[in-house]
Each structure stands twice: as C-alpha cells, then as structure tokens.
C-alpha cells in the first residue's frame, strides 16, 4: 500500500513540476522583454521617426502604419464576418448543406499558415490588383486571415443569447431582422467586442503575412497606397538584419506585448463577465 501512495505522490509531484515549468518559461520570456525594454521607452521613442535603420530614433511611423493596416483589415473583415456569423447562427436551420460548406471552409481558412496568406496576398493584391507593396494590400491580406477567428467568435456571441428572446420575438411577429438589430445584437455586444478583440490581437501579432504585402518601408506613410512597416516586422528586421538594433527591438517588442496583453485581458474579462451573466439569467 505504501508503494502505491508513493507512486501517487510522485505522479502528483511530476504534474506540479510540469505546471510550474510552463509558468517559469512564461515568466522568463515576460521578464526578459520587460527588463530590457523598459529603459528605452519614453514619449519621444513612441513619437519620433526611425533613424539609422532603427538603431536609434523612435517608432512613430511604425505605430501609424500598424494602426492603418489594422483599420483597413477591420473595415473589410467586420462586415463580412458579422454577416457570415448571422447566417450561421440565426438562419442555419434553413440551409444545412450551405452552412456546413461555409463553416468547413472557415475551418480550413483558420488552419492555413500565415506565410501562405502572404504568398496569396503578394500574388493577388500586390501584383494582379496592382496595389504593390502597400498598406492597403497588407490590410486586405490580414482581413482574409482574421476572418475565421472573427466569424467564429461573433457566432459564439450570438448563439449564447438566450433563445427566449427569439421565441418571444416570433410570438410577437417581429421580423427577424428587426429582432436581430434591436434585441439580439445589443444583448450580444460584450461577446461581439470580445471576439473583435481576439481578431485585433491576431492581426497585431501577424508578421509573415505582412512582409510581402505591406513591405518594409519605415517612413511615415502618406496614403494607403504607400508601403508601411508594422510593429512585428520592425522587431523582425531589427533582430535579423540590423546589427546593434537589439535594444530598440526589445523596446518595440515590449510595446507590442503590452498592447496585446491589454487587448487579450479585455477580451477575457468581457467574455467571462458575459458568460457569467448568461448563467444568471
């Protein structure tokens, strides 16, 4: 019997070690980035332009380009994702085969490696559409990429609205569209915002799809047809191609990490609050 309890204890200890090991690695990365990044960060770093290929100067134009790419991406992907999610969650009973086709293709789209999106964006948006290396083609490529995650999370948000609303609406003979806009969408707002946050997080983190679509240029973009460098590409370029760019790479990585952590925390907070409230209803 003692043998058995001993082996139980060993297994228990081993599993705790696994969990602690994962936590340790996580903290190590965070600590490393934060401790090297914090001394570099100041208001001038955030606003001034890139100098000497990034060895000195700030990341002002990079932040502007990132925001512009994100804007293009969201303007295209939100309407598409919202409409698809509405179809999948509200009208799915009427056309089963069609909706299954859509959800399988979204599933495949979610699995496609980002570099393949980069290849596609480079061939289609940059060359066939003639947009060249530009913020517009980068944003459009990203839009294709975040479509599945956005659609899936909006769909989950809509589905978690209680069916009582839909039944009550049907009993009152309210057209479904009115029901959707006036009641279901407002009720689902926290879930939708959480989904939106996840999509933004995914887009901000992306590098491989952007290198060959939005390009490397680190000047302030003049229009959407200019090439612009995103934060993640800036980190990559400083780390790989610019000797002595490491301190600024650390600082940029810290900025990106903080942005993403804030976005993810907001998404987590919203979705947990939302699900909790639903249980209470």
């Amino acid at each position: 019997m003692t043998d058995k309890t001993l082996s139980q204890d060993l297994i228990c200890g081993f599993i705790w070690c696994v969990a602690l090991g994962i936590t340790f690695m996580f903290c190590w990365i965070l600590f490393d980035i934060i401790s090297h990044g914090i001394p570099e960060i100041s208001w001038t770093f955030l606003t001034s332009s890139v100098q000497q290929a990034g060895r000195s100067g700030g990341i002002g134009p990079i932040i502007i380009s990132t925001l512009l790419i994100l804007l293009v991406c969201l303007c295209v992907s939100i309407p598409l994702a919202l409409a698809t999610a509405i179809l999948l969650s509200e009208f799915s009973n009427s056309h089963q085969r069609f909706t299954r086709l859509i959800s399988t293709s979204l599933e495949i789209l979610a699995g496609i490696p980002s570099i393949v999106f980069g290849l596609f964006g480079n061939a289609f948006f940059c060359i066939i559409c003639g947009l060249g290396f530009s913020i517009l083609s980068g944003g459009l490529t990203l839009a294709c990429m975040v479509l599945p995650i956005l659609t899936r999370s909006i769909e989950i948000g809509l589905r978690s609205v209680s069916d009582d609303y839909r039944l009550a609406g049907a009993a009152l003979a309210i057209p479904r569209v009115k029901l959707l806009w006036r009641i279901i969408l407002p009720a689902a707002t926290p879930g939708l915002v959480a989904g939106l946050m996840l999509g933004i997080g995914r887009a901000l983190a992306e590098t491989a799809a952007l290198i060959f679509t939005s390009g490397y240029v680190d000047r302030m973009p003049g229009s959407l047809l200019d090439s612009g460098r995103a934060l993640s590409i800036h980190i990559y370029d400083l780390a790989m191609n610019v000797s002595g760019g490491e301190t600024n790479a650390y600082a940029t990585a810290l900025i990106l990490l903080v942005l993403l952590l804030v976005i993810n925390l907001v998404a987590q907070w919203l979705s947990h609050r939302f699900l909790y409230r639903k249980v209470q209803l």
């Binding site: 969990a19 994962i22 996580f26 399988t104 290849l119 061939a123 479509l147 990106l256 976005i263």
Partner: protein, 288 residues
C-alpha cells in the same frame, strides 16, 4: 417558419457575404495553383525531390530545386515540438482539472490564454537573443533544430492545453463519480477513464497544434539557422518550408518564384488534410 420579405432580403445579403468567405478559400487555392503551374511544368515534380540540392535560379535548366531538405526540416521540427508539447500540454490540462486548487487552476488557465496571445515574432526574438546563445555554449552554432523545437514547443503548448482542457471538461461527470465510487485512485481514474473518454478531443488538440507547428514561420526563421541541409544532429541548423518562402520570396523571380508557390501549395495540402481529419475526429466525438 417562413420569412417576411424584409427578412428574405437580409437573408440573401448574409448569404452573399458568407459565400464571399467560402470564395476566398477557392481563390487562395486557385492562385497558388496558377502561380506554381510554370514550375510544375518546366521543372517537373520529380526534380523537386531528386535534384542535388536547393540552388534555385529563375531559369530551370541551370538551377537545382530539391525541396526535400526543407521537408525534412519541417518534419523534424514539428515532430520534435509535438513530442514535447503533446504530453506536457495534456498533463497541464489534467493539472487544471484534478490536481490544482480552484484558484490556481483559474490563474493557470488565464496565464495560458495570455501565453497563446504572445506573437510569434516575440518568441522568435527571445529565442534569438536568449535561447540561441545558451545553446551555443552547449553545442555550437546555436541557432539549430534544437532551438526551433524548444520555441515551437512553447508556441503550440497553449493550443494543446486549452483544447485538451475543453475536451476533459466535456467528459460526463458520472464517469468520474463512478470511478470514485469504485475507490480508484486519482491517477488510475485519469489513466483509465479520463484519457480514454476524451481520446478524440485530445487527438484533435494535437492535430490542430501540429498544424500550427507546420505553419509557423517567423519564430522558426529567427532561431533555426536557415541552412538548407538534412540535419545530422539536434544541433545542426535547419531550414523549414515556411522559412524558405519567407527568406526567398523577396527577391525570387521566374521559376524560382514559381517553385516557392509550389511549396506553399504543398503546405496548404498538408494543413487541409489535417484540418479535415480533425473535423472528422470532432464529429465522431460528438456522435459518441
């Protein structure tokens, strides 16, 4: 229930948008095909695996186009990562459910969700400036298959943990209560009931994580050393298919560019197969 005319119009609008989503997939596949046809025609499929090395040129008669070193690189890195991340991730999910106190399990899950949000370029950067020097001290040159495996393991671990966590949560409570009633110990319950009951969910988690590892690009470019060779040891530099595309698309022209699209098509094929298998596993899990 019939739809009112207003509803019908909206319904068609939604269908149109949803159809666009499905069309994007077709578009991507079509474009990869169209762009890689010149390479398939003038280089030929067998040269991608039989040529002496990977020294591509725009003109197919002078270059050599052997992709197998990159295929082996992708395979080795993915396999290594999944060997570590699979068991570790499942154990971490078990930790959340059966070993950790509630508060710690909650915090652990939040932490894993945050870990999932760290961008690949940050992992790669950390690997390049922190991990690679440590490995260089052990066995030069540093950026190597080993570094790639460690970074990939950390990157796909959250996927495995979160999905296996969800799979374990879906096990009917009565199974575990029954095991407790029979006096099974915690580990026996896990070994003989939990893991078997969530088999489909767990393999689905590993499937999706494998897909992520195959497709990962930036982190791998930054830590693997990028030499197109078949590795002899864990500490040899390698180049993966995705890294190859990322490194060369910038300057590739002619048949060289076309053969990069062909490798993209190859990647897409592998991933699509894995997604379809995992879909099938999921629907079997639901039926059970």
């Amino acid at each position: 229930m019939s739809l009112s005319p207003l509803d019908k119009r909206w319904f068609w609008l939604c269908r149109f948008f949803a159809f666009t989503c499905a069309l994007i997939i077709c578009f991507i596949i079509l474009f990869l095909f169209v762009e890689s046809i010149p390479a398939i025609q003038s280089i030929g499929l067998e040269r991608f695996f039989n040529d002496s090395s990977w020294h591509p040129t725009p003109d197919p008669s002078t270059g050599s186009f052997n992709l197998s070193a990159m295929l082996v690189g992708t395979l080795a890195a993915t396999l290594g990562a999944i060997i570590f991340a699979g068991p570790l991730g499942i154990l971490a999910a078990i930790f959340c459910h059966f070993y950790a106190p509630k508060q710690i399990a909650y915090l652990f899950r939040r932490m894993i969700e945050l870990l999932a949000g760290i961008p690949s370029v940050v992992f790669g950067f950390w690997g390049l400036v922190t991990l690679a020097p440590i490995i260089r001290n052990l066995a030069p040159p540093g950026p190597s298959l080993c570094a790639g495996i460690i970074i990939l393991t950390m990157m796909i671990l959250p996927t495995v943990v979160l999905l296996s966590d969800a799979a374990i949560k879906n096990i009917p409570k009565k199974y575990i209560e029954g095991a407790a009633a029979l006096g099974l110990s915690r580990w026996s319950t896990i070994k003989s009931i939990v893991i078997r009951a969530s088999k489909e969910g767990l393999s689905n988690a590993i499937m999706l994580a494998t897909g992520r590892a195959i497709g990962e690009t930036m982190a791998v470019v930054m830590v693997c050393g990028n030499i197109a060779q078949i590795p002899n040891s864990l500490f040899d530099p390698i180049r993966t298919l995705t890294a190859n595309i990322a490194l060369e698309l910038g300057y590739a022209t002619g048949q060289h560019r076309s053969s990069l699209f062909f490798s993209g098509l190859l990647l897409l094929g592998i991933i699509t197969m894995m997604v379809l298998i995992s879909e099938k596993l999921k629907s079997e899990a639901i039926r059970d």
